[in-house]
């Protein structure tokens, strides 16, 4: 045994005086060791989840399809009037609710993934990022059936294949990452105090109605359209829907800006997570 090559580990009081750039590098370095554990944890959770369930995948689809069904019903019976949607309303709503579900899962998943392995956090020293990565894999995995439903819906409503649909995965990924970043930023406080999880549960459905999920974005001016302008999700959702249905064939500038901010948020979120995990572990006790 060559004792000179032993890795030196040093534990010192919290002193996170590192530069933005240095942090970025250390985060990227740590992704690799976390990777294998993340895949293992992801497989574990998925296997356990589906082994205990008869309906399986169906549960991923129920929330968006129920919401869509409700609004299709209301619209068909002329109880509400959402105006001109450009594409058949059922298709419009299905795309909207499924994309919203992608966002909502992104918001919830980081906190859920970390909280699920809370017991492990206070006992074992493993790369903490693995929990986030495994959460992200879960989101990606759950995208599968959703995209399948969207494909079926497009086929049913005879949407033709066109090149603008190539932008659609980018839209889905950005929506998912924006949700994930927001969820990630809320994870450290959310693990400490129960109010955060409750707050998210109440605000998310409410926020859906402030986003053009079940109705098209208004074209007139006014406070409502102003709200749409400042709601980043409105842009992401409308663009993605446009790409899929073929009514939009370029990437709007707002979309690019929001994507940039999403990446920035994601980085800040990961950094916050890294810094706060020891403090949270300490407060968990155990």
């Amino acid at each position: 045994m060559n004792t000179k090559n032993l890795k030196l580990t040093v534990y010192e009081p919290n002193s996170s005086q590192t530069s933005f750039f240095a942090s970025l590098i250390s985060i990227i370095k740590d992704i690799k060791p976390a990777q294998e554990l993340a895949i293992r944890l992801f497989k574990r959770d998925i296997k356990a989840q589906y082994r205990q369930s008869f309906l399986g995948f169906f549960w991923v689809l129920i929330p968006p399809l129920l919401t869509a069904g409700l609004w299709i019903f209301l619209n068909n019976n002329k109880i509400i009037n959402v105006g001109e949607t450009g594409i058949p309303y059922p298709l419009f709503v299905i795309i909207g609710t499924i994309l919203w579900q992608v966002f909502a899962e992104g918001v919830n998943q980081p906190r859920v993934s970390v909280a699920a392995d809370k017991a492990m956090l206070t006992k074992i020293n493993f790369p903490r990022e693995a929990l986030l990565l495994s959460g992200f894999y879960t989101i990606m995995f759950n995208l599968g059936p959703k995209l399948l439903v969207l494909a079926c819906a497009c086929y049913f409503f005879q949407i033709e294949l066109n090149t603008s649909q190539l932008y659609f995965p980018l839209g889905v990924l950005t929506i998912s990452l924006l949700g994930f970043s927001i969820g990630l930023l809320l994870t450290p406080p959310g693990l400490l105090i129960a109010d955060i999880a409750r707050g998210i549960g109440i605000i998310l459905p409410f926020a859906m109605y402030l986003t053009p999920v079940i109705y098209p974005a208004p074209t007139t001016t006014g406070t409502f359209s102003l709200l749409m302008q400042y709601n980043p999700l409105a842009t992401l959702l409308s663009s993605s829907r446009g790409w899929l249905s073929g009514s939009l064939d370029y990437i709007p500038n707002e979309f690019i800006t929001i994507s940039g901010f999403t990446l920035l948020f994601l980085f800040i979120g990961v950094l916050a997570y890294r810094i706060s995990m020891p403090i949270i572990t300490e407060r968990f006790g155990g």
Partner: protein, 404 residues
């Protein structure tokens, strides 16, 4: 391989904790925001905070084992978490060389729905093994766990002992330079515990071990130095393991059983070497001197030939010795309801330490128990050497000339 390189160096490590949950969470949020903004935390205690660990220092070389002992809440587990890198110290510095592994929680990452085989991979991944490494060690792990028959059943059907077996079998594959062990071997049957200890023994030779336990026989067996913690501080620290264990025991208040009142029999008076036993000031008896016990008993007259029983317990509550009257000697006779006895035990060979005496009285040999009093009195044996076993035997050692 050099066997004396320092693998663990702990310098003045301290850690504060909050007693109040709401305050603790609030400080947590503040600390997070402070850390995000790069503000250095102050080392002052905030309201409701206290030092859970204060100024702990030690060094550990390869092949050495340090025992952390102390009563519940003394700060051992907190210190382990800091050493394991789960939480940062508030002051001080810790340096560790090489691969650090912890035997703190067995079976971390298990999912109850999945089979034992699948969970070997889950647990292994959490402990830092790659899939390849586990593939290579899978058979060995299953064999070590001795539960091959159930390896493809869901873990939720396992007994707690079986889960521990599987968890330890995975952990046993670690080849650490620094090994941290926290009371994990409490469950499991004797055979498996012995197997685990054999495995730990072989890990010991190549690593520096930090061992937390309440089991003093285990500490005495494997540790080469000891830190006795009390309220977060090192109350005793050194290489005299027996001395540390002795101080650990002296932290617990010894309670003498009261001279019990029973309708059938009772002890009226009890003397050790002519003195009345007292819990605050133990009667000292030097090793190899005579121990004289004097007893005054009241017994209901209808029991005419009662039988006395005396047992000695050490601090581990191990029954280390008993006195039984020889059958051939004349029986005890109860005429007036009072029996006065004097028992002399010549040249006691008890080792240094504190012992308690238990007295029982039966109506006759193997008959009805009239009364039994646990810990009726304590005495302290003084001796030159500190040994872990209860007896330090008298004997003579001679060297025999080599035969031609």
């Amino acid at each position: 391989m050099k066997n004396n390189e320092i693998l663990v160096n702990v310098e003045n490590v301290s850690k504060k904790f909050s007693r109040d949950l709401k305050k603790s969470l609030w400080y947590g949020l503040k600390d997070i925001s402070g850390a995000m903004l790069g503000i250095k935390p102050k080392n002052k205690l905030r309201k409701s905070e206290f030092w859970a660990i204060k100024d702990i220092s030690f060094t550990l070389r390869r092949g050495e084992c340090i025992g952390l002992i102390g009563h519940n809440g003394a700060g051992k587990s907190t210190l382990l978490k800091i050493l394991n890198g789960l939480i940062p110290p508030d002051t001080g510095r810790i340096e560790m060389k090489g691969r650090v592994s912890a035997l703190i929680e067995l079976g971390a990452g298990f999912n109850p729905i999945l089979t034992g085989r699948e969970n070997i991979y889950n647990n292994g991944a959490v402990l830092g093994f790659s899939k390849k490494e586990i593939d290579a060690k899978l058979d060995e792990i299953i064999e070590f766990s001795e539960i091959a028959e159930f390896i493809d059943s869901p873990v939720q059907n396992y007994s707690s002992g079986m889960k521990v077996r599987l968890g330890f079998a995975v952990a046993a594959q670690m080849e650490p330079d620094v090994l941290i062990i926290d009371e994990v071997l409490a469950v499991g049957d004797l055979g498996f515990v012995l197997k685990c200890f054999n495995r730990i023994d072989s890990m010991l030779q190549n690593s520096a071990v930090i061992f937390v336990s309440h089991s003093m026989p285990q500490v005495a067996r494997i540790c080469s130095q000891i830190v006795l913690m009390d309220k977060g501080q090192a109350k005793y620290q050194g290489t005299n393991v027996s001395e540390g264990i002795d101080q650990y025991y002296s932290q617990f208040k010894v309670v003498n059983g009261n001279l019990s009142d029973s309708s059938k029999a009772k002890v009226d008076n009890f003397l050790i070497n002519g003195q009345i036993p007292d819990t605050s000031n133990y009667i000292q008896v030097s090793r190899l001197s005579n121990l004289v016990l004097e007893l005054e008993l009241s017994v209901i007259e209808k029991y005419t030939t009662p039988e006395l029983y005396i047992a000695f317990f050490d601090k581990e509550m191990r029954n280390v010795a008993e006195f039984i009257r020889n059958e051939s000697e004349s029986k005890l006779v109860n005429r007036s309801g009072k029996i006065i006895l004097k028992l002399t035990i010549p040249e006691i060979q008890f080792s240094k330490g504190l012992y308690s005496i238990t007295i029982g009285l039966t109506s006759q040999r193997g008959g009805e128990i009239l009364f039994r009093q646990q810990g009726i009195a304590h005495f302290q044996v003084t001796a030159e050497h500190h040994v872990w076993s209860a007896f330090q035997l008298k004997g003579q050692l001679e060297q025999i000339e080599e035969r031609a």
